[in-house]
Symmetry: C2
């Protein structure tokens, strides 16, 4: 029975990592679609949403079935609770990537407002946060998870800087309003992805150590 | 033992309802602070965030402790899983209310852009969604939960209409850009609260019927 449980938990871990890899790629592709003005790539991100939704349901059902049949305790129980929460955050990261891709589709219909520097940088930061939070989960590494939580401040900083800059574009020239607004929404979605990665990291800390560290690293964000 | 479990589950239900009542009031107060230009009320919403954070942790720990000690099955297990998810959505509704209140603080520093009609209307709709999703939970009423999911379309509709209107203000007059942007962010946060209420309603359906209906009622939203 114990060995069966390990087998079940490992299968769930693999599914969750697959989902993590998919949503991380969605974020990367949505950003690439912006930089390369590649509208079909943006559309492909939007179309991938359905796959993520199905995977979320599959993982959740798997967790529930194991909880119900095997009644795990202690660290195994914490593992399953953490997986259900991480699963939900990954799905929302996928949603944010779709929002970004939809803004990219609109941006690509107009001339480039300015060279895209800050958003690709912000996107790199949040992709690293997604990846590291899942690495921390796999390795049961609560120190790495704490590092992820700290990364959130840098992403918030980029968002605040961009917010002011884009607001400047909007007030300077009415022709730039729509484009600046879509860039602002993209940056806001990236900032949300960082929040979800922080949530994942906090779930990892709970899973590994049994400690709940939520809301100890919160920072107020603009907007 | 069974009776003890019922007692535990009832305590958790009460805590969750208390949290639901608090976040619903935060949404109502943030909106009132906009309409009445009441900055201290907006500040009070921001300050209440900490209470919600603590309540979230308390409920989560309570659920985990019961899962671990009593190993409930079937509907009781589904109840606890649903509570943990609803708890997380309520906390994020609180975060959105805080975001709204922060935008209200900035808006109240400047003259009124236009009479606030659509946002109070949208806010009424989402407050009703929050309330109904929790009513559905208490009454184990999956039909009411399905109604909540349907309400999401109307809220999205208000957001899309406002998005276009506010974009119009932004392009028309540079003086209006900042205020229109904050109103847009408020409407966007209300739209997110509707999404969270839909998530809660879907969790209620799962809890009551054992069916997972997520992503069957999704609509793409602007932004």
């Amino acid at each position: 029975m114990e060995r069966h449980l390990d087998y079940d938990l490992d299968r769930i871990r693999q599914s969750l990592l697959r989902m993590g890899g998919l949503v991380e790629k969605m974020v990367a592709d949505a950003t690439q679609a912006l930089v390369d003005r590649d509208t079909p790539l943006a559309r492909a991100v939007v179309d991938r949403d359905h796959e993520i939704d199905l995977l979320e349901i599959e993982i959740d059902e798997d967790c529930h079935s194991i909880l119900s049949r095997k009644q795990p305790t202690a660290v195994d129980l914490r593992f399953l609770v953490a997986v259900m929460k991480i699963n939900s955050d990954l799905e929302r990261i996928g949603d944010s990537a779709v929002n970004i891709a939809q803004s990219v589709e609109k941006l690509n219909e107009e001339p480039v407002l300015k060279p895209y520097v800050d958003i690709p940088h912000q996107s790199q930061l949040v992709q690293a946060m997604v990846r590291q939070s899942l690495d921390a989960f796999v390795r049961r590494d609560d120190r790495l998870a704490i590092d992820v939580c700290r990364g959130d401040d840098e992403v918030d900083g980029v968002y605040r800087k961009l917010f002011c800059e884009l607001l400047g574009y909007m007030t300077e020239d009415r022709e730039k309003v729509t484009r600046a607004l879509h860039l602002l929404l993209i940056s806001r979605n990236l900032e949300r992805i960082a929040d979800h990665s922080t949530n994942i990291a906090e779930d990892v800390i709970y899973y590994v150590s049994g400690r709940d560290v939520r809301h100890q690293t919160d920072q107020a964000a603009t907007g």
